[in-house]
Structures are given as C-alpha cells and as structure tokens.
C-alpha cells in the first residue's frame, strides 16, 4: 500500500519534471524581420507563463481561482461551483499538475478557530474538485487562518474578500 502511494507520488513528480522540460507550445517568432540585428542572442525562452505554472493558472482563471464564504460558513454555493468547475477543467487539461487549496478566514475571529475554519473551507473546495473527477493526490490543503489577508481594511467588505479559499498551482 505504502509503496503504491510512493510510486504514484514519484511518477507524478517525474511527470511534472518532464512537463517542464517540454518545448513551449507557442514558439516565439524568429527575429527575421528585425532590421538591426540585436547584439544579444535571439530569445529562446517561451513568451508568457508556462502552462501548468501558477502564473499561467492564475491568468487563465481570471479570478475563478478564489471562492468566497459568508461569516463562519464553509458551504459551496452556485458561484463557487462555477469557479471550481473552471479550476477542474484546467486541472483536467493539464493532468500532470498538482495544486494547493489555501483556506483563509477574516480577522474578526479568534486565532485557533480561524485556523480550523480555514481548514474547513479549503477542504470544502477540495472535496468539490474531487467530486468533479480530480484525483485526491493532486490536491493538498493548507489553512492560513486569519494570517494572510488580501484586503487589510477592517471593514465588512474587506472581511468578505478575506473569507476565501484560493487554489494555487504547485510549481
């Protein structure tokens, strides 16, 4: 049993490594039209973020990498489901990727409870992704409680932005 898990983990790590080494899908145009040759060698790196990377995922999601919760709640509503479906599609499109779901709480809670609440939110999001067919071993969770606010104001609007679960690619 343990060995299988290790083997799976190993192979996904290898797959991830291999993925990174693959040539970019979009090859930059050769600098043929440039009238004055650049003194530096022609760029060989791909333009834009690598598919499967956090930057690529974040840009592809356009906000759907984050879902939001009501005070002390962790239920997945219709808006959350739509966002999580987009995440699942991405994860399906890039099957060698792995992701962390981060759970967060607003500052208007006690510290230990917020850690537990963030864990609850991250797991709710993860469970929905799994229900959409994403393998469990591709998704880990971490709770940051109230420790990492995105909006530092002490207002109901800021607290609403901070009560969230964010999916982040493991690069």
């Amino acid at each position: 049993m343990n060995r299988i898990v290790i083997a799976l983990t190993m192979s996904s790590v290898l797959a991830l490594g291999a993925c990174k080494k693959e040539p970019p899908e979009v090859i930059p145009p050769a600098p043929r039209d440039v009238s004055t040759p650049a003194p530096t060698p022609a760029p060989t790196a791909p333009r834009g973020p690598q598919p499967g990377s956090q930057a690529h995922f974040s840009s592809a999601m356009a906000g759907s990498d984050t879902i939001y919760f009501d005070t002390d709640q962790y239920n997945i509503d219709a808006t959350d489901m739509a966002a999580l479906r987009r995440q699942a599609e991405y994860l399906t499109q890039y099957p060698s990727t792995r992701a962390t779901v981060e759970g967060h709480a607003d500052e208007r809670g006690t510290r230990d409870y917020n850690l537990a609440l963030g864990e609850r939110r991250a797991n709710a999001a993860r469970a929905y992704l799994v229900s959409l067919g994403i393998a469990e071993n591709r998704l880990r969770t971490v709770s940051y409680g109230e420790e990492r606010p995105v909006d530092t104001a002490s207002t109901p609007a800021a607290w609403a932005r901070n009560r969230r679960a964010v999916t982040v690619m493991i690069d």
Binding site: D72, L115, A116, L117, S143, T152
Partner: protein, 473 residues
C-alpha cells in the same frame, strides 16, 4: 543552562508562631549584622509583640491603598559582580527598582521607589530608622540587602516592616546566580504582595508570546519569551516562518507552539535548553492550539482531518499514541485543564456558533456551559479553579470571566478586539492581546479579575498570543 536558579535559604515569617516568639533570629549566613564574627541579637521586635499585625493584613480593604517605601537595597561591601557593571551598590538600587515597578504596576499599592528615597545603611536593613519613614508617611517599608559571595553568587535579603507599628512583618532571603538577580527582586515583590494581600505570589514567572512586526498583509511573527515584567526578553525564532500560540510547559523547560516551518500549520515542542524541537505528533494533518496539562504530562492539541477539527491528547514525553477526546462534526478546538487535571474546558461550534463546553479529562460527559448572550471562545481555566476566562464575542471581542458552570459572567475589557486570555499564576490577573481596528497592530494588556487596573505591557515590538507560565520552580 544551569538548573539551580534559586535557592531559598531561609523563609521566616513572623506569623509563624514558633518564629514569632524567637525574637526573629536570622540564619547566620544571611544576617547582615552577622557579617562580623560574633552573633548579634537583632534589635527589632524586642518585646515580641507581633500578634496584632496578623489581624491587620487579613482585612482585604486595609492594604488596597497602602503607601510602601522601597529604598535602595544596601550592600555589606562594594564588590564587582557580573550582575551589574558598577558593582553591588548599584545592583542594590536596581533590585529596589524592580521591586518598586512590580508593586507599582500591580495597581494595588502606592509604592515610592528608591530614586525618591534616602538610602539606608547596611546596618539599618535589620534595624530601620522608623522615624525617618514615619516622617515620609510610609505605612510599609521594604528594605533589603545584596552581598556577593566568593563563588560569585549573590545573597539577597528582603524585609517588610510595618512603619506605624515598628514591626517586621516578613522576611526572606535567596542565593542566586548573578544572571538571575532579577528573580530575587521578584521574589521580594512576591513576598510583600502576598503578605499584604493574602493572595498567592506571581511576579517570579515568565511569559511566552508572539512578537509581531511588519505590515498587516505581510506580518512577521516570532516566538519570544520574557519575564513577567518584560525584562530578559528573548526571541526564540527568527521569523522566517510564522509562529503562533505558544504555551510554556509547567516546568518552563519547553514551549509548545504552532509553526509553518514546513509550510503547514503544525505544533512543535521546543526544548529551551537544547534548542531543538519535535512535532507534537507524527501526522501529516494540521495541528494547532497546544495546551499543557497542569502536571506537564499531557499536551492537548487540535487536529483537522478531512476539514473537521477535534481535540486530542498525547503524552508530553513523546512517542505515545494520541487519544481522541472529541468526535463531533463541529469544530472542537483549544481546551484548558482545570487545575486538578480532571476536567477540560474547550470551545466548539457544534451548536452553530462558538460556545464553551466542559468535559472530563478522558473526553466523557461533554456539556455546554455558556448560555449567556454572545459567543464563547478561547476558554482558560483559572489556576485557582474558581473562574474560567474567555473571549466573549458579542459584536466586539472582549475578555470575560464566568464560573466553571457558566454562571456570573463578568466582562472585564471594552476594546474592539480583545482576545486570548491567559491567567497570572495566582489567578488574580488576566493578560490578553488587543488588536487595533484597521492597522491590526497587536499589544499585550492585563487586567485584574475585578476589571480594574487595565494596562498595556511594554514589549519591544507588537505582541500577541500571551501565555503566562506558573511561578518559576
């Protein structure tokens, strides 16, 4: 680290009948007047009439506004000491300052410190010039001395006198390492405080907390420790990973706290002497909210599994199998043992919102105790057993106390967000941290059980998650 921090060499309270009738002999080793070869009969209390004094200090109201003079401690001989670059005379002044600040910050007395008082001679420590102190309207007088021994250790004596009655109320002496000189002063303050108030001592204790720096969205949180008066401050972690919620073990040898050092929230048990730390339990699950049992044998922690948090108990010695104490779909978190170790108060949102519950130490007989308005979070059982402090959430967050059955709720603070109470070792004072709206800046505060004497503790940087340890062993 050496372990023999403090050696009590004598403890002679005049209220002890046997001593009261012995005309107050000091042990030769500690008698300042006995530095000469021959034994000296002390001059105080010649007629042995100290009986009436016992009556005056049992009345709670009598000591509340007591004026106490605390002149510089005397020294038998000016000597160099590692405790003070200027020698034992200067150290005597510093000792009295520490006693003065302890008693002043307590808010119960009106002490006058050594910088505003004449300096008694060494001989006067056991034979006070009472007329001088009567002229200064001092009701009580604290005098002391410090001597540097040949081995470098310091002997510190502390005497409490009733000026009006011209009688000694208490005396005690300690032999300490030079690095521990402040502890002798705290012991002296404890002697005065407990003799005058009838309460248990608490000054000779330490606090673990989280030092905070940086902006709200990128705050650096470091584990730090300090004495109860803020001295001997030391950072334990470097801030590279977030540290939260420390708790001293009852013997002060370890600190259990949460760290994100491997990227996940996990409780580590840090050994202060070896500076090594181990996971509280071998699990890949997140663990948080560590608490020690009063005897130091167990550590409570909360662990999330599949998103659900429950409370577990594991042997503090390590290696044992964790015992699950709660098994509920709600968030069960935190926990605090009753002083006798038989019960645990904890918080749970199983009813739909955070409330406080009590269970037996084995997890049986779980029952809700908080039914007053508002929510109940972070309950902490008083070391005296008679009260539970908690964070009351009713719009704002405030510190409140209630009886162990949930009755007689009293709200002690009125900040915007006051949370995480921790008790002084004697159960008379509560520390907590206050967060400012907007900036999120945090600071440690303390308040009496009565709701009086609210004050902010001075810390080098922002501070949260205070955890007050017991009186030092």
């Amino acid at each position: 680290m050496k372990t023999p921090f403090l050696l009590t060499v004598f403890s002679l309270l005049l209220s002890a009948p046997a001593v009261a009738q012995s005309s107050g002999d000091l042990l030769p080793d500690l008698d300042p007047a006995g530095i000469g070869a021959q034994p000296v009969v002390t001059t105080m209390d010649d007629n042995g009439e100290n009986g009436p004094l016992r009556g005056t200090v049992t009345d709670d109201s009598a000591w509340q506004d007591t004026g106490i003079a605390i002149p510089a401690f005397a020294t038998n001989r000016e000597q160099p000491t590692p405790a003070n670059s200027s020698g034992t005379t200067a150290l005597g002044l510093d000792l009295a300052r520490v006693v003065f600040n302890d008693l002043r910050n307590n808010g119960l007395f009106r002490p006058v410190g050594p910088d505003a008082l004449p300096r008694p001679s060494y001989e006067q420590i056991t034979a006070p010039a009472f007329s001088t102190w009567q002229g200064r309207s001092a009701e009580m007088l604290v005098q002391g001395y410090v001597r540097a021994g040949a081995d470098g250790r310091l002997t510190v004596g502390c005497y409490l006198y009733d000026v009006a009655l011209q009688s000694e109320l208490a005396r005690e002496g300690w032999v300490v390492l030079p690095s521990e000189w402040r502890r002798a002063a705290h012991k002296c303050a404890d002697l005065v405080y407990s003799r005058l108030s009838g309460e248990s001592p608490f000054f000779d204790s330490r606090i673990a907390y989280i030092a905070e720096t940086g902006p709200k969205d990128n705050r650096i949180k470091r584990l730090a420790i300090m004495d109860s008066d803020g001295a001997n401050h030391r950072f334990i972690t470097n801030g590279r990973s977030t540290a939260l919620t420390p708790r001293y073990s009852p013997d002060y040898r370890k600190i259990a706290y949460l760290s994100y050092t491997d990227g996940n929230p996990r409780i580590y048990v840090y050994d202060i002497d070896t500076r090594e730390q181990v996971l509280v339990t071998e699990s890949s699950n997140p663990t948080f909210a560590p608490r020690w049992s009063p005897d130091g044998r167990w550590i409570l922690y909360s662990m999330a599994s599949g998103g659900n948090t429950d409370i577990y108990r594991v042997s503090a010695a390590g290696g044992g199998r964790p015992i699950r104490l709660t098994d509920n779909p709600g968030i069960d978190v935190g926990g605090s043992y009753s002083p006798d170790g038989t019960q645990i108060v904890f918080e749970s949102d199983r009813s739909g919102a955070q409330q406080c519950y009590v269970m037996n130490a084995d997890g049986s007989n779980q029952r809700r105790i908080s039914f007053a308005s508002g929510r109940c979070a972070t309950p902490e059982w008083s070391p005296r057993g008679d009260q539970i402090a908690f964070t009351r959430i009713a719009g704002d967050f405030n510190i409140a106390v209630m009886t162990p059955s949930g009755g007689n709720v009293r709200v002690l603070t009125d900040g915007w967000q006051d949370e995480a109470p921790t008790w002084a070792p004697n159960g008379r004072i509560i520390q907590f941290f206050r967060s400012e709206r907007g900036s999120g800046d945090s600071s440690i505060w303390q308040v009496d059980l009565t709701g009086e004497n609210l004050r902010r503790l001075q810390t080098p940087v922002g501070a949260s998650d205070p955890a007050w340890g017991p009186v030092l062993p």
